[in-house]
């Protein structure tokens, strides 16, 4: 029956399309893509969002090669505390909170964000780094603290 074939074709097309969307989302949102492939793409001259290109270039220029490579490899940037010996701040690339790491153990998470929305991802990484380096106490006073005890 032709109508049955049309319905079958329609269902197959929808199913294949949804599966392709799901697969592409899984690949492009993976940590490897988020921390390595997307940032690399953003530095290309043809990248269609100039704000992301300039933000990525600024981040690359203001980090050392070692820091930038580590950010791409780990998906976060580590900034040593100048106030508390043995403490390190892990700034994620992309959404997420800054982790406070003391002697190898995450002790709390900090949430600080721009009051006005819309900074490119690379600028947000740079924002956390510069604020932590230049005025750590004020950063800690501004942040909402999520101690380890309340994560569960």
């Amino acid at each position: 029956m032709p109508s049955a074939n049309v319905v079958l074709l329609f269902i197959t097309t929808i199913t294949v399309t949804l599966a392709m969307f799901r697969l592409s989302a899984l690949v492009t949102m993976s940590p490897y893509f988020r921390s390595r492939v997307w940032p690399w793409l953003r530095t290309r001259a043809w990248w269609p969002v100039p704000a992301e290109r300039t933000a990525e270039a600024l981040l690359h220029r203001l980090l050392t090669d070692r820091e930038y490579d580590a950010l791409g490899f780990n998906g976060y940037l580590e900034v040593p505390s100048r106030e508390y010996p043995g403490r390190m701040y892990r700034i994620p690339r992309g959404p997420g909170q800054v982790q406070v790491v003391e002697h190898g153990r995450v002790t709390e998470r900090l949430c600080v964000q721009p009051a006005s929305v819309g900074l490119p991802e690379a600028d947000v990484v740079l924002m956390h780094k510069l604020l932590l380096e230049s005025d750590e106490r004020r950063y800690l006073l501004t942040a909402n603290h999520f101690p380890r005890a309340i994560w569960y």
């Binding site: 600024l58 100048r82 009051a115 006005s116 501004t142």
Partner: protein, 81 residues
């Protein structure tokens, strides 16, 4: 050359000046530095944080415009999330 970068949704807006030329009395350079100083003050009034940066060195917070700085980054006001 000094540069003031204002982080924004455009990536960053840049304003440049030539401090040695200002010291020599160049009028165009003086105009550029006045504009950078005006933007610095405007951003500070909106709650931005100003940091002096140099590659490979820790950032340093500044409260007043430094014409001798090579690069100043203005970070928009932040809040606890």
């Amino acid at each position: 050359m000094g540069v003031l970068r204002v982080l924004s949704h455009h990536g960053d807006d840049r304003y440049q000046w030539n401090y040695p030329a200002v010291l020599e009395g160049d009028e165009a350079a003086e105009e550029a530095i006045r504009e950078a100083e005006r933007i610095f003050a405007e951003q500070r009034a909106q709650g931005s944080t100003a940091v002096r940066v140099a590659p490979g060195k820790p950032a340093e917070r500044i409260d007043s415009f430094d014409p001798a700085a090579q690069e100043i980054v203005m970070i928009p006001r932040v809040v606890g999330g």
